[in-house]
Point group: D4
Chain length 146, copies 8
């Protein structure tokens, strides 16, 4: 089964690479997509549209340029994997989860056990909670090949 | 103009009361709705469905019971106000924002200036960012009466 | 919170009456709806449209007349309660559950523990599983009043 | 006419194989999809996400993993064939039918004459009722080639 | 059960009046709506927008003004009754049926037995075929009161 | 511009062939689709599902089998061409037009001047009215190549 | 027939008042809604959210606050009347027309004959073009009372 | 990331060519679409459907033929670029923006600084405002390749 999988959330660890590599090694028919994961590039996505003195507007312009990409990819995908790490606020990851939920689009959350409680609303609409990258890979493999 | 406004997010301060009271004092035709804001009640929303040994499943059941309420209220509302305070993860607030965005439902964010950057994706899909309760009240008053 | 609740499934026990009565006694702002629950009336819903020799077409006409009622009520409701008893096939109850799931409409299943396994797909899309009428009542009371 | 056909329901007989083989022999431009049909594999679809003591949660996790596959396939398909055999509860098949009906997606039911009555609601929303695999094949052949 | 019922089709007989009167006499909670049924008024619905020399444009303007009414009423209604008489082309009635079908909105056809064949596609998407006004009344009474 | 064009209506003249041939000769990137246009084949589309004594049910089964094809093709197409000839009732053509209108899908009507009046509602929702096959071809050529 | 009518466009003449007054005098069951029509108020709709040095951001904030009102009103309305005067760019009026068209929501344009050509795309999706306020009133009266 | 980009608005300058050429030179995986940009051809798009004496109907027919193309392309595209130049009314460009907004489809506006104020409603729903072709190119390059 051919799948398009959107990888949302944490950008400071290599969880995306691990999933992509493992799925490629297993020859799964999955194409992975993602927001821009280079932090500075993403923060400056709107800089070419003109400088802003206020932080709010600089962020606003960049976030809106990035949203053209992410919104399109989320709407295209069959399944999303949404990763919450142990740093930063990661509100954009929770935002993506809500977006998926409203579209009735299935998603898997990936986070450690110690943040179960604050993520209970996000997990409640998820199709699966994985606490390791290996579990995500096993899930995608199951869906794609069985 | 009659409005139904959903108040999402932070439950540990009295921002909801302030907005509701000010709108009532101005005789605005607005009905406000909200998730259950009593922390322990919300956490135990699913307890009557049977005890769970694992925290994940207790949270899961409660979050799903609460979602029946919040999902319905979000879909009914004309405008949402989404509050991010300075404590806790508040991923459910960001989740609600994403849900609204996917439904093309307008929302106002309410948060202080120091969290502009981590909220940039949430703000990018918002119709307004307010940094004080008074600004939210003024916005609702404008929409409802002008 | 005002709710419209659709009661689907088993028609041979008094679970509907119990829920309705308990909610009325608690003065909950809930209006309950249901398919025609009188077995013979429901089976003959299409008889006035002309007699049929084949069982298939008699059933077909009646089921389609009933569907005008149930489909409209399901689309109007905020929450559905779907009851699986210990007799009969009850495929219409599972059908209603699937209908709700596709519309992203929340539903509660009500069934005993011994049929957890065959109902796993139906429960997987539900917002709650109740094994007693009292649990359904408590859930509706929570959603409606907290 | 190119078609994607989803085969839902009974997993203990070879009805899927017969349909697929006959359509291939006739060179029809149809791609068939299906849930995981190996019983034990399907029941354990969520086992890699962690062991559960309670049967409900084990089933729940597996059903949700499977739903990521089935939901996606149902939404992709042009036509579904939904098979009710003479064993088991088969509520998932009726659930799929309801899901199709809500999406206004055409489906064919496949079942013997003795269960016409309990399936009347499911048949009422179907585009065709077939009592033999040969009738399904003839229907698909007609749609695909005429 | 409160219903809004749209009455579409034939305007040269009193079938609408009979249905409305019978339902009122039975105190059914049904509000009936309809296109403009006075032939000349309907044909001249756009005349106040300026005279046209060509018949096509006069018809076009009138039909579009009427469509603002009918489209709104069809989208509001719970059930439509679509009447085909023995005169005229009545393509607007078939058009309304197609409109309902695409919206997944239930409708009842009302026509005599001699036009079963040319109406087979329209009947195939209907929830019921009635050959007499009395059958329509009985159907609405069933849906509204049982 | 690549287009999928659905050809609906009259099956007793060669208007489809003329359009298809002219578009092929001009090398337009258009794929044409259609219902089954062989009258007897279409009328017997459901015969393999079992004989029926009543004309209504034979027609019903065939029309529903055909609808699996036509509904899918209409929903896939970019533009529909809907032809009304001078014979027969052609309610299925008007039904298709209504179906397109509700889906906000553009269609072109093709009919002679003498039936402008009875088709005014159908034309009012059309994007163009053509009175000759040549006009349809010119329209498709314009859309596809300019 | 009860209607909600949204009045969009030109704010420098009294066309709104004339329509509302005439409909009230005829006791039509129509409620009219509108964006904020006081120019300075509308331009400063976002000023309470904080001052901006750049004109773009001041306009942006005000336009987004106003959009919460207009978007909600357009989605609620049954019919829109969109007025193009002889001054200013009036791109917001054309924007509202496109918004209505995508929602399949009927609208009437109101403009003089000399701007037929630049408004041809807007008129092409309209249900009626009126060149005088009286024509709009006559149209609403027809829809509401016939 | 593969994109389909619709270019809407001004047809009297070479902004489209510049964007297309720059994206091709950068080997971006973008396919560009557009309305017919040859003024006279576009104005006469409906002429083959028969001559009209009144300007309104000539424009009407042409605009509707063009709409079959533009509506389809807008619904297909991932992102739209909407250009407002310094000449003409350009209401069709604003109409396209409103159409995109209602479909929740992202668009970029392209216009000079001196028309910020009249375009504030159009910009308020845009994902980005560019004042030069180079900024549009940089934005598309970012979305397509990062």
């Amino acid at each position: 089964m051919k799948l398009e999988v959107y990888l949302s959330g944490e950008i400071h660890t290599d969880w995306r690479d691990k999933i992509i590599q493992a799925c490629q090694e297993s020859d799964l028919d999955i194409s992975f997509t993602s927001a821009v994961t280079h932090h500075e590039t993403s923060d400056g996505a709107g800089d070419h549209l003109g400088a802003e003195e206020k932080q709010f507007w600089r962020d606003h312009k960049s976030a809106k340029v990035n949203a053209m990409k992410t919104k399109t990819l989320i709407e295209r995908c069959d399944i999303a994997v949404i990763r919450f790490g142990d740093k930063y606020k990661q509100w954009n990851a929770a935002f993506d989860a809500g977006y998926c939920a409203a579209l009735n689009k299935p998603y898997i959350t990936l986070h450690s056990e110690d943040i179960i409680h604050p993520l209970k609303e996000v997990d409640a609409s998820a199709q699966a909670w994985a606490s390791s990258v290996e579990q995500v890979i096993a899930t995608l493999k199951y869906i794609s090949t069985k």
